[in-house]
């Protein structure tokens, strides 16, 4: 190891992932607003021929937001945070430095392949696992390289104890590795059928109910190990650091960690309530989903209590606003999810718009807000420049908050209306409404949802502009800020 007297943390790969987070954020959310508008105004389906239909664009939206925007934000934050809490620089190992670059390069290849293949309609047809087997194989390779980088940095660390954020990053790595491998066990059709079909097509190795079970074991854990676990890693580092306040209770963070790890893995069954999976598995999915409130709220309350005595920062610092609201939205969505997982509620909620409403108060309010805050906290440190505009950041916060509220409230009303109308029967047991009746009733809520999405997208563009200007035109900083990020 080199002497640390002249050494600095190496942010080269951090910067690359920060830029891809911004670009994928714009792409993913733009497609999101378009498909939300298509649901309200179906003629928008015919703008780009087959490439512009809802069915073609919906997987693109989810995959770009999850695997483009979110993963980029997580990896930028990981390579930034890991160096700092372990007190080791990537530049101390030539091999690690090369592997971090290779990680980014492979990621870019996969992300491009994902966008192109999904736009062309090439899909494995499993939700959040649409990529076909050649890309899946590349994902495994990239994940191994990420693992080498993570454990390589841990191996070189000067600080013996791993900070709680690192625990969550390790869980993110292990959880996704295990679940991704199991769910993407697929048979390339051409090689096993005597040359039938295209070389890149495959079918799942599982069939029927088993396939559904494995799919939702993964599907829900994509929420757990991509949208929750690493985002908790972000808040455990960035909120204390930005506010200058130590985590309220470190012990609570450890307890919440183990609670979350144990419970989350078994909650996926709630996606298959009232289906053909064994009844005890459905009950298990429900029970574990309800128990999940405890570790989730453990982390969220720990974060809110971290601000104890320093609530004035909420009015003074927009980054604290983003993080405190993110934590609050985390509490909201981790209460809403268990409610939806109760069998009787699920009988009404399943297949309705309440479900995307739930997903979006989590993703827009919790995940994306945390990523925005993390990127803007890192920006002055990695670019050595002041944040370009505080007022732009404040405006973004309020515009996007209104957007999220419009999104989830419209979907709550739409979803429950939909569920009740589907189930309504007259005194003879005949259905009262036809499907098209529900569509007509829901139109205003779909339009409101599209408006909420548009507001959020406007905020995304404001963020991208602010980020670009910070990196290129922000006032130069003589020394790294210790806690609060400087902004003009």
């Amino acid at each position: 190891m080199q002497s640390n007297a002249t050494m600095e943390y190496d942010y080269s790969v951090v910067k690359l992932f920060m830029w891809t987070a911004v670009i994928f954020g714009i792409v993913g959310m733009t497609i999101g607003v378009l498909i939300a508008s298509q649901l309200a105004f179906p003629d928008l389906n015919y703008l780009l021929g087959e490439y512009g239909t809802f069915s073609r664009l919906r997987p693109l939206h989810t995959n770009v937001v999850i695997y483009g925007f979110t993963l980029s934000g997580i990896w930028a934050s990981f390579y930034y945070t890991a160096q700092r809490v372990l007190k080791v620089s990537i530049s101390e190992s030539g091999l690690l430095k090369a592997l971090t670059k290779l990680h980014f390069l492979l990621y870019l290849v996969i992300a491009t392949g994902m966008v192109v293949s999904l736009a062309l309609g090439i899909t494995a047809s499993k939700e959040y696992a649409q990529m076909e087997w050649p890309l899946d194989a590349l994902v495994v390779l990239t994940w191994v390289i990420f693992g080498i980088n993570m454990f390589g940095l841990i191996g070189l660390r000067r600080e013996k104890t791993l900070y709680i954020s690192l625990w969550y990053y390790i869980a993110f790595f292990l959880g996704v590795a295990m679940l991704y491998l199991f769910n993407n066990m697929e048979v390339p059709t051409m090689f096993f059928s005597g040359g039938l079909g295209a070389w890149y097509h495959s079918v799942s190795m599982y069939a029927g109910t088993n396939d559904a079970l494995v799919q939702w074991w993964w599907g829900h854990n994509a929420v757990a190990f991509v949208f929750t676990v690493p985002i908790i890693a972000l808040i455990y580092y960035f909120l204390p650091k930005e506010s200058g306040q130590a985590v309220y209770s470190y012990k609570l963070s450890l307890l919440s960690f183990w609670g979350l790890m144990f419970v989350y893995l078994w909650a996926g069954g709630h996606h298959l309530l009232w289906s053909t999976v064994p009844d005890w598995m459905q009950t298990m999915g429900s029970v574990f989903s309800v128990v999940l409130i405890l570790p989730s709220w453990g982390s969220a309350i720990n974060m809110l209590l971290t601000m104890k005595g320093e609530w004035n920062q909420l009015t003074e610092n927009p980054l604290i606003k983003f993080m405190v609201l993110a934590s609050t939205f985390y509490m909201l969505s981790t209460l809403e999810g268990p409610i939806q997982a109760v069998k009787s509620v699920n009988a009404i909620a399943h297949f309705t718009d309440w479900i995307p409403g739930h997903v979006h108060d989590g993703v827009l309010g919790w995940v994306a807000f945390m990523i925005f805050a993390a990127l803007m906290h890192m920006a002055p440190r990695v670019f050595k420049r002041e944040i370009y505009s505080k007022s732009l950041l404040e405006s973004q916060f309020w515009i996007q908050t209104i957007g999220v509220v419009l999104y989830f409230t419209s979907m709550w009303i739409a979803g429950i209306t939909q569920g009740m109308m589907w189930r309504a029967v007259d005194e003879y047991g005949n259905l009262v409404y036809s499907f098209i009746d529900t569509v007509s009733v829901l139109h205003p809520y779909y339009a409101l949802r599209a408006l909420g999405g548009l507001l959020y997208l406007i905020g995304m563009f404001m963020f991208a502009y602010n980020f670009f200007k910070t990196a290129t035109a922000g006032k130069r900083l003589e020394q790294e800020p210790r806690y609060r990020s400087p902004m003009a």
Partner: protein, 72 residues
């Protein structure tokens, strides 16, 4: 053994397994608080790992496997 019996065994094993893991989890809570009460551990000091994260910040627990020239 019928499929139904196998399913039942799996379900019972799951319930028993859950019970065991719950017991371990509660023991962990007791262990955390007891070791801090006895003065063997101070978990709360690790909160500072996020705050003092410069390369030349004071190291809380030095990694014994790494030779380094950092100031303690």
């Amino acid at each position: 053994m019928t499929t139904v019996e196998i399913e039942q065994i799996r379900a019972y094993m799951f319930v028993i397994g859950t019970g065991i893991v719950m017991a371990i989890f509660y023991y962990y809570i007791i262990y955390l608080y007891r070791s801090e009460k006895k003065g063997e551990k101070d978990y709360e000091k690790y909160s500072n790992l996020a705050l003092d994260d410069e390369l030349d910040s004071k190291i809380l627990d030095k990694n014994p496997k790494i030779e380094n020239d950092k100031k303690e």
